[in-house]
């Protein structure tokens, strides 16, 4: 693949394909994004990937916009647009046709079975996402501790996640991490 000659085409191909395999949503696709962006294409370093993940979690909108950030760092505004449309387009088309098909034949059994089968997969993928970002972001004991406290808070309370993110940012700003 001579993808380096045309970075926008490489973005469209990478994320267009990934879109159809992103079982369980954008957060499940993070390991594959990491593999493509850091290991295969060398678009980002490990550290940049962790930063991009942090920025995407800080900004409003669907989680999938992490591909906008990756796209921008590869090819500017055109890259941002291309990556986003490529990641959303194919699966949106699929959703459109499947929903029209299901509206006509109301057999609600299959979606339930497929969903039940996919749940363990998407949890495993999200856990892998966490591990991959943590390997870069959690380089010190304090950093690991922040992650654990953030996880415990979000698991056990109904605190707005934005506050947890801002608290992490403040600790980083203060030089604790």
């Amino acid at each position: 693949m001579s993808s380096d000659s045309n970075p926008v085409a490489a973005l469209v191909w990478t994320f267009g394909l990934m879109s159809l395999f992103a079982v369980g949503g954008a957060n499940s696709a993070i390991p594959e994004m990491h593999r493509a962006a850091v290991d295969v294409h060398h678009w980002l370093t490990d550290k940049q990937f962790a930063d991009v993940f942090a920025i995407s979690q800080l900004s409003p909108g669907p989680n999938v916009l992490i591909v906008t950030l990756i796209g921008y760092s590869v090819a500017g505004v055109a890259g941002a647009l291309a990556a986003t449309v490529a990641m959303c387009g194919p699966t949106a088309l699929l959703a459109y046709y499947v929903s029209r098909f299901l509206d006509r034949s109301r057999d609600a059994r299959w979606p339930a079975i497929i969903q039940a089968a996919l749940v363990p997969l998407s949890i495993g993928l999200m856990a892998a996402s966490g591990l991959i970002v943590a390997q870069t972001s959690d380089q010190s004991w304090i950093a690991v501790l922040i992650t654990i406290v953030a996880a415990a808070l979000a698991f056990a309370t109904r605190i707005n996640p934005l506050w947890v993110l801002l608290a992490g940012g403040l600790l980083g700003f203060a030089g604790v991490v």
């Binding site: 989680n63 959303c88 959703a95 363990p120 856990a127 591990l131 970002v133 959690d138 700003f173």
Partner: protein, 203 residues
């Protein structure tokens, strides 16, 4: 954009709300999805439900849950799928595009501005440190969603589900095999196990 709340724990349907009295227009669709997307720091799903079911009453709670279940079993970003399916149900292809553009457009502009700022100032030490702190917390939030989604499996003592979960985690997270290859093996396997166990429960 913190992780979406686990779809397995979908909220119970409200007491039957009246059928949608009013069909949204294209601009209305665009604005409604733009609003919920920009409010969606805590995951867009919560806001989508609030806007569609409670505020605008475009769908009943049951209709919303059904539509979301469909969008969740399909690949890709769930909420993006939802916007297209929802918009096209009212206004055809144009409606799907309007809802999609509302959901993705405005936050994409924000993300692009942030990306430009990062490209320019990403090397400044204070910013690097701050982002490192945010990343630590963000990973924690992701793990919290993982644990929340695992709870039903643990409660049901769903051993096969947990084994599949662990196998996917090892293959993708530790060995770093490509997603496509892992899924091409794992999806048929998980489907077969699910269908078999359902038959055994019935018998």
């Amino acid at each position: 954009m913190p992780p979406e709340s686990p779809p397995v724990a979908a909220p119970a349907p409200d007491a039957s709300a009246p059928s949608p009295p009013h069909q949204p227009g294209l601009l209305e669709l665009f604005l409604a999805f733009a609003k919920m997307s920009l409010a969606g720091f805590g995951g867009v799903l919560v806001w989508a439900r609030r806007s569609i079911v409670e505020q605008h009453r475009w769908m009943t709670a049951e209709e919303f849950n059904e539509t979301f279940a469909l969008c969740h079993f399909l690949p890709g970003p769930n909420i993006v799928n939802l916007s297209v399916v929802f918009g096209s149900r009212f206004r055809g292809v144009a409606g799907g595009l309007a809802a999609f553009a509302g959901l993705v457009g405005p936050p994409m502009v924000i993300a692009t501005v942030l990306a430009a700022l990062y490209a320019r100032y990403g090397d400044i030490d204070v910013l690097r440190r701050t982002l490192a702190g945010v990343a630590c917390a963000a990973v924690g939030l992701l793990f919290a969603v993982v644990f929340k989604m695992m709870m039903p499996l643990l409660k049901r003592r769903d051993v096969t589900g947990l084994v599949i979960l662990a196998a996917v985690f090892v293959a993708i997270g530790l060995i770093r095999w490509p997603l496509q290859i892992v899924l091409l093996v794992a999806i048929p396997l998980s489907l077969a196990v699910t269908i078999l166990t359902r038959r055994m429960v019935k018998a």
